[in-house]
Symmetry: C2
Subunit: 332 residues, 2 copies
């Protein structure tokens, strides 16, 4: 691990602005949305769906971007690479991530599609269902990977969603090559079970060719990866990959799989579930922060659990308070 790295973690992902509104289950049915999942939509569908949504709150989002904001809130140093357009939403994304203390060097696109937006439908049970128009994210490519940033990170973190825009995969491979040369570790989140269905073979290749060192997934993504409905079977397969893995199990906590060893860590208590958006992103923030700082794995997972618990108790996918203070108060 790089001891004098400038960044604990560098994240690479889709730069997205979230448009969040409560919705009834009937709304999801009427618009053929997979509850709890993320569906890619084109601009026209985005406009039509937005027109049908209730009054909305607009907040910066993007999975890996949320994770980097969480790391900054924990007191870590984080950077993010992702593509916005030079429009109002892009400027808001830029403002928010920098104001959160994350270094954001990517130049905005001056032509092409608008900044990406994710329509987040939050049902009364707190579950979020997402419809994403990737917009300017499709412009992300190897040219956006600045070697000096990647080489300055202890961990480079990538989202599985990066497989959706056409050139981002090449950006990922460039970043991974630089990272491995500089001694950094590569972490990947599987992002979403539908995303795993789209890119199963490629994701398994990444794990099996040593491209990825640390894996984040939830149980349904893991089930999708190994095409099984049985968690024990999936964990058994995962052990064979010889990785460090964090498998989140919603309210039941998480499993830390360190090569062949499995530890279970309980979820942090919450008062009221409001909106699960960002739960996985913030768990990853806590765990990555801990790993970058060399904490014991159970402590890494406990920090992740506390960060996730904060973000699901309000709307939006980024913390509303200092996670560093929260960790201190909890004595973790």
């Amino acid at each position: 691990m790089i001891s004098n790295a400038r960044f604990d973690v560098l994240g690479i992902g889709n730069a997205i602005v979230d448009v969040i509104a409560p919705a009834e289950d009937d709304f999801l049915l009427a618009h053929a949305l997979h509850k709890g999942g993320m569906t890619l939509i084109d601009h026209e569908t985005s406009a039509r769906l937005y027109g049908a949504m209730g009054p909305a709150t607009i907040m910066s989002g993007g999975s890996a971007a949320n994770t980097m904001v969480g790391i900054a809130s924990l007191g870590g140093s984080a950077a993010f690479i992702g593509k916005v357009r030079d429009d109002e939403a892009g400027r808001a994304f830029h403002h928010d991530i920098q104001a959160a203390g994350v270094t954001f060097p990517t130049v905005a696109a001056t032509a092409g599609a608008a900044t990406a937006r994710c329509l987040v439908h939050v049902t009364p049970d707190g579950e979020r269902t997402m419809s994403t128009f990737l917009g300017a994210c499709v412009e992300l490519g190897p040219k956006d990977i600045d070697e000096s940033y990647v080489a300055a990170a202890r961990i480079v973190y990538l989202e599985g969603y990066l497989w959706d825009p056409p050139d981002a995969k090449a950006a990922f491979r460039k970043a991974a090559d630089i990272a491995h040369r500089s001694g950094a570790r590569i972490a990947l989140t599987l992002s979403d079970s539908f995303c795993v269905d789209r890119y199963r073979g490629e994701f398994l290749d990444l794990l099996r060719t040593g491209m990825v060192d640390i894996l984040f997934s939830n149980t349904s993504e893991l089930h999708a990866l190994y095409q099984t409905a049985d968690l024990d079977t999936a964990i058994g397969e995962l052990k064979k990959e010889k990785l460090l893995s964090f498998v989140t199990c919603s309210g039941e906590g998480c499993l830390v799989v360190d090569r062949s060893e499995v530890q279970s860590v309980i979820a942090a208590p919450i008062e009221r579930l409001v909106d699960t958006t960002g739960a996985g992103d913030l768990f990853a923030a806590g765990a990555l922060f801990g790993v970058a700082r060399g904490f014991p794995l159970a402590r890494c997972a406990a920090i992740g659990a506390l960060a996730a618990a904060e973000v699901i108790q309000h709307y939006g996918a980024r913390p509303e308070c200092s996670l560093a203070d929260l960790i201190t108060q909890a004595g973790i």
Copy 2:
């Protein structure tokens, strides 16, 4: 009162998008902002101040617009007249107010300044301090007052902030003339004590020439109107105006002054004060809804108190749940 009116209330005001972020008191001092007040700023100052703010949430706002959304949430019929530009923020404002069930006939400006934005700084005590760039609101004029909408309202509600953009006052006078001819009542909110300082003489004229029938203010606005620091003195002056007035006193509830008679109504209980933005707007929503429906005045004020209590327990100035359900549950 018009019995077959299409709208319980038509609001006319500045159409604004709120940009909300937590702030420390030191931030207000460093930027010379009057705590609890609203300062008008130009585009350049808005850009500079936004750059200094923390990560922000973007939600539709505007005082009278918030009030109309509250009326719709209570089950009333409401319309709003206010000017946005045809930009991203303007489209968001348009979407949100229509999605909330409010009729919004005003055509967006296709040239000139951007849609208005209000930078809302929320300090840890829950108090909000606002800096507003009026933008496209300065385009609002008499041409935007559609007689058919005004004549279809039981009450026409105007915000004192309308005195800031140059032509809005003429729009107000046109609306007031139509309203009085059709038998509608005119309600005015004093908006802000600094706003009262700017237009004291004109506001007093409105009350004393019969232009206004119903007045909303908080205690500091009333103190500013009558240039006294003593509430009893101010209420004494108010009685002489021979109006129906609602005077909100923060956590102490409100006073209903019906010509010479004064009733006191307590505030609704809250669990946690998060953000006072919209407290006055939502109180007005409840009270106006009640008055439009011919409820007893104490009940009108109690509905206002409950609506205000909802909105101060979360970020943003518009209700997050059905106020009609809330009123039913509370048995008011």
